[in-house]
């Protein structure tokens, strides 16, 4: 595992090339990804946007190694995910990627502190206590460490999930609609956390969202439609993203 925190934006943290993903077969085959090539640079906060069914979640799952591509390649850093067996894929998920889900997906029987260190416990290591400690302050949950997830608000639970995603200092954190279940204020907090993590600690975040306001927190937005990459936008604002999204709704 490389623990580089290089600030170079040229090195790709994750990359997919000619990604094709087909679900099902025969007449009912669905082409969720149709030849997508995209690079998520290290140290950047990238948002994936697109209408429902455009393949943005599929792209994220394949890029993160949760799902496999029908054809094409997916890489995390220099590692080609297609060539990994189950054990190596497990180690990769353990050491090099983190996840934030829409439904928080905390383990209800564990406390906040246990949830945050769960990936480290599964890996059998202690991790970096100072890093974990700092992380707890960043997400502002020090006084909630011994609570169970059910005793927290949605925003607090998602902040726990963010802390869990960063606990192992992964190369890339993938967030799938992290604000989808939150009100706008809690959503802003979570997005702010993701943004600070990228800018202050040189992490890489890839976030799937359909919310232009959320996308505006990213350094860059990539737009997907019908399984293809159709546009990119640097330094997005909510208005520009919204305008671009409206263009998808025009019947072609």
């Amino acid at each position: 595992m490389t623990t580089t925190t290089a600030l170079t934006t040229t090195r790709p943290a994750a990359r997919v090339v000619d990604a094709v993903k087909v679900y099902g077969g025969g007449d009912t085959a669905v082409r969720a990804l149709d030849g997508v090539t995209v690079t998520f640079p290290a140290g950047r906060f990238t948002a994936i946007m697109g209408p429902s069914g455009s393949g943005k979640s599929t792209l994220m799952h394949c890029a993160a190694g949760l799902d496999t591509l029908t054809s094409g390649t997916a890489r995390i850093g220099d590692t080609d995910l297609g060539g990994l067996d189950d054990r190596r894929l497990t180690l990769l998920r353990r050491d090099r990627v983190g996840f934030v889900f829409q439904a928080y997906n905390l383990v209800p029987t564990l406390t906040v502190a246990e949830n945050i260190t769960l990936p480290l416990d599964l890996a059998g290591g202690r991790g970096d206590p100072e890093w974990i400690d700092a992380l707890i302050d960043v997400v502002g949950l020090r006084d909630r460490l011994h609570h169970r997830p059910a005793e927290l608000s949605g925003g607090q639970q998602q902040r726990v999930a963010v802390a869990r995603a960063f606990a192992g200092r992964p190369d890339v954190v993938f967030a799938d609609e992290p604000t989808g279940n939150l009100d706008s204020r809690s959503g802003q907090e979570v997005l702010g956390l993701l943004g600070r993590a990228v800018r202050e600690t040189a992490r890489t975040v890839v976030m799937v969202t359909h919310d232009p306001v959320a996308a505006a927190h990213a350094d860059e937005v990539v737009f997907l439609a019908d399984g293809r990459l159709v546009d990119r936008m640097d330094s997005p604002t909510a208005d520009r993203v919204l305008d671009r999204m409206k263009a998808f709704e025009v019947p072609s």
Binding site: H61, G65, L66, D67, D86, R87, L89, T90, L91, R93, R94, D95, F99, F101, N105, V107, L118, P119, L122, A123, R164, G168
Partner: protein
């Protein structure tokens, strides 16, 4: 139970040839002469020798209905005066001394609402007027299960229960002090006429046990085994199905753990540990419940008139073994089978 009731009998003299029919281990034997008891009684080492006359005799209860109905055997015989040789013990009253006097087992008396001093009819099958003078117990119980027994004087037994007077089913012999059963048989054999043999009391008890086991208990045991096999099968499938559903419901949680870096092995081991814990707990609970039911049955059967023999439920292997394979196999199988997709 039979062992303890016939413990005092050291040797049995009987006809050597048995007319057996398939499926019957003891068969029907020729009677022996009653006066052979006198001959046998003179042999050195014999403490007592008494004829054992057996036949059928159905008591009629106080309400005019036959005791025992069409069910269990209704036996009649001579009341053997030597207490060591008589499987029945006199509990109340006295032994029959003159014609028409009988002893009945206490269970039969209670069923027929008969008391000492009552006069009733004994169907041998010819009706005989009898007066009850005593009540008997069998191996400490009120009777040998639901079998009714009527003990008469030797003369009455010969008269009513056998085809011809002077015949007995067998002669029960008790050894004197220091004479073993085998020695007794060895001493008896030379004085016996052709076609008559002596066997030890132990062999006789074993034959009785074998007859009862092979005929009634054999069927019963097979039935119970089949029944428990069916129960085991049903339980196994239910547990397997339930656990498969539980595992399926966990798919999401397991997928999360996999996404967070848990290996396939970790998820499987977690599930198996849980399955084992549940299986052990459930088996212990099931065993405790089974012990409770067994204890209840043990109390229930004597209450219904079927006293249990020596030995209790915990001496039987089956209740201990059954829950384990059922629980452990069915709980272990599902986590081993379904695929764990990485996501």
């Amino acid at each position: 139970m039979f062992g303890s009731a016939t413990r005092g009998t050291d040797a049995v003299v009987r006809s050597a040839d048995a007319i057996t029919t398939p499926g019957e281990s003891q068969g029907v034997r020729q009677p022996v002469a009653t006066d052979l008891a006198a001959t046998v009684g003179k042999v050195a080492g014999v403490a007592a020798a008494v004829p054992n006359i057996q036949g059928a005799g159905q008591l009629v209860g106080a309400n005019g209905e036959p005791v025992g109905g069409q069910g269990p055997p209704t036996l009649a015989g001579n009341w053997i005066t030597d207490p060591e040789l008589n499987p029945y013990r006199l509990a109340e009253g006295r032994a029959p001394q003159k014609s028409g006097e009988v002893v009945v087992n206490r269970g039969a008396a209670e069923k027929g609402d008969l008391r000492i001093g009552d006069t009733t009819t004994l169907r041998t099958p010819d009706p005989v007027r009898v007066t009850i003078v005593g009540l008997a117990t069998f191996a400490g119980e009120d009777g040998m299960a639901q079998v009714t027994f009527t003990g008469m004087t030797v003369a009455d037994a010969e008269k009513y229960l056998t085809a011809r007077p002077g015949e007995a089913a067998s002669i029960q012999v008790r050894a004197g002090p220091g004479v073993s059963q085998q020695e007794l048989v060895d001493r008896l054999t030379p004085v016996l006429p052709r076609g008559v043999e002596a066997i030890t009391g132990q062999e006789s008890a074993e034959e009785n046990n074998e007859m009862i086991s092979s005929q009634f208990l054999g069927v019963f045991t097979t039935f119970l085994l089949v029944f428990s096999g069916v129960a085991l099968l049903v339980a196994t499938f239910s547990i397997h199905n339930t656990f498969a559903i539980v595992v399926a419901q966990r798919t999401r949680e397991n997928a999360l753990l996999r996404a967070l870096g848990a290996s396939r092995r970790q998820v499987t081991v977690t599930t198996l540990v849980e399955a084992t814990a549940v299986a052990v707990t459930a088996s212990v609970a099931g065993l405790a419940g089974g012990i409770g039911v067994a204890a209840g049955l043990q109390a229930l059967f004597p209450a219904l008139g079927f006293p249990f023999p020596e030995g209790t439920w915990w001496s039987r292997p089956c209740p201990w073994r059954c829950p384990w394979p059922s629980g452990s196999w069915s709980a272990w199988a599902p986590p081993c089978c379904p695929p764990y997709a990485p996501a």
